[in-house]
């Protein structure tokens, strides 16, 4: 139980939050811009997901899609500043979830964003967090832990789905050859004809996904190598069949000591108030960072939602 709530420095959640919300905005315009085009697609092609039917969500009209696009863009960028984390966080979660329902209700569901949705769902529960705040916080610990669990569940349960739908013969089938023929890069076309290689890769993928939960029992020294391996797996996937899994990659940052990134940035930016130790970080994404919190000051709680 204490494992689920193991506290982490609050700065970690502050950096994670900024990256997640910036990505949510970038996702709208860069990574999945096709969602917007569903507003101009005939509603005949709309195949609402179960959740959309249960909640009686309206069929996406041009007006609805455009409204959600702009509202989500504005709220995500505001949330990235770290202000009003509860209100803005829940708004972004609800809007992004509806955005995904619109995205996946046309006959094709993507599987690259479960952990990202979990991140959006838990970030509002963490309260105010500043970039260089090193105070340990169990709320931040739980939030990051469940995102980690969602990341690993994506791998582990993907192998389960392969066994359920494809069976063990999935490993000796032609799923990679098929993927490469349909969307392979020149690099993939080059290596696909090598005898046995794609079968070996399929066995490797199954083994990796089944073993992925072991990351939780590794010491940090080895855990970071496992995370590096996870990222390299996706690097290969991108270079072969151009599947990016970008939202999942963002969620995977939950494994890293991100608060060190805040220090790294602070060291490289010119100090505005060199006489006061630890307050040299200029405004980052609107967040006045580097406010050193003394024990007992209670600044994080006292600041309240959105205040300084």
């Amino acid at each position: 139980m204490s494992w689920l709530f193991a506290p982490v420095p609050r700065g970690r959640i502050a950096v994670f939050r900024a990256v997640v919300y910036v990505f949510a905005a970038a996702d709208l315009v860069i990574f999945t811009p096709w969602v917007r085009s569903h507003g101009s697609v005939d509603t005949e092609l709309y195949r609402p997901l179960w959740v959309a039917r249960v909640l009686h969500l309206p069929a996406p009209s041009s007006l609805l899609v455009t409204s959600i696009f702009w509202a989500l863009l504005v709220f995500a960028l505001l949330a990235a500043t770290g202000k009003a984390p509860r209100f803005l966080g829940w708004m972004v979660f609800l809007l992004y979830f509806e955005w995904m329902i619109i995205a996946m209700s046309y006959g094709k569901v993507d599987h690259d964003r479960f952990a990202f949705l979990v991140a959006l769902a838990v970030l509002p529960t963490c309260g105010v967090a500043r970039w260089r705040d090193r105070e340990l916080d169990a709320r931040a610990g739980w939030a990051l832990r469940v995102v980690q669990l969602a990341v690993v569940a994506t791998y582990f349960l993907a192998s389960w789905a392969k066994l359920r739908f494809g069976g063990p013969e999935w490993m000796t089938g032609s799923v990679l050859a098929r993927a490469i023929l349909r969307r392979g890069t020149d690099l993939a076309d080059l290596i696909a004809p090598v005898p046995g290689l794609l079968i070996a890769a399929q066995i490797g993928i199954m083994a990796f996904e089944l073993l992925s939960p072991l990351i939780f029992v590794l010491a940090w020294r080895w855990q970071r190598w496992a995370v590096a391996y996870f990222y390299s797996f996706h690097l290969v996937t991108i270079s072969m069949i151009t599947i990016s899994f970008a939202p999942h990659l963002v969620a995977m940052l939950s494994f890293l000591p991100l608060e060190k990134a805040a220090d790294w940035v602070a060291r490289r930016l010119p100090s505005r108030e060199p006489s006061v130790a630890g307050s040299g970080l200029p405004v980052l994404l609107g967040e006045v960072a580097g406010h050193r919190i003394e024990a007992g000051e209670g600044a994080a709680e006292g600041a309240g939602a959105g205040g300084h």
Partner: protein, 147 residues
Amino acid sequence: METTISARGRAVRLAATLIAGVLLLAGTLWGSDDHFPFGPFLMYAGVNPPNEPAPDPRIEGTTLDGVVIQLGEKQTGLRRAEVEGQQESFVKEPSRLQEVVDAYNRRNPQGPTLSEIRYVMREHEIKTSRPTGKWHDEILATWKVPR
């Protein structure tokens, strides 16, 4: 100094974790894509035997001038997988391809007018889990665009 969570806060978080976990597990065991976000992680989970050809469908149109154009995501706003997901209904009822024509017209009001639209399946040959480089095309559905 450390921020802790109240007993109630812990209980709520624990319950949320367990409920989401159970839903995800149930989705993986019995669910389908329809249950997003708790459906099974089906990326590349299909059964593809070692010598099964790879289907590579596309929608193409012929303009009034007789030019053949591709009707991909850029032209219609529909992703290939989405088009593929509706393949059966296009084949059963070719008039439904008119929806794709309409989507094309909405996005390209100044573009060339289509006289015909086709759902074409290209099958790439695969032997012992490796592509052979051979393929053939088959037209699965044709729809003459009413003037």
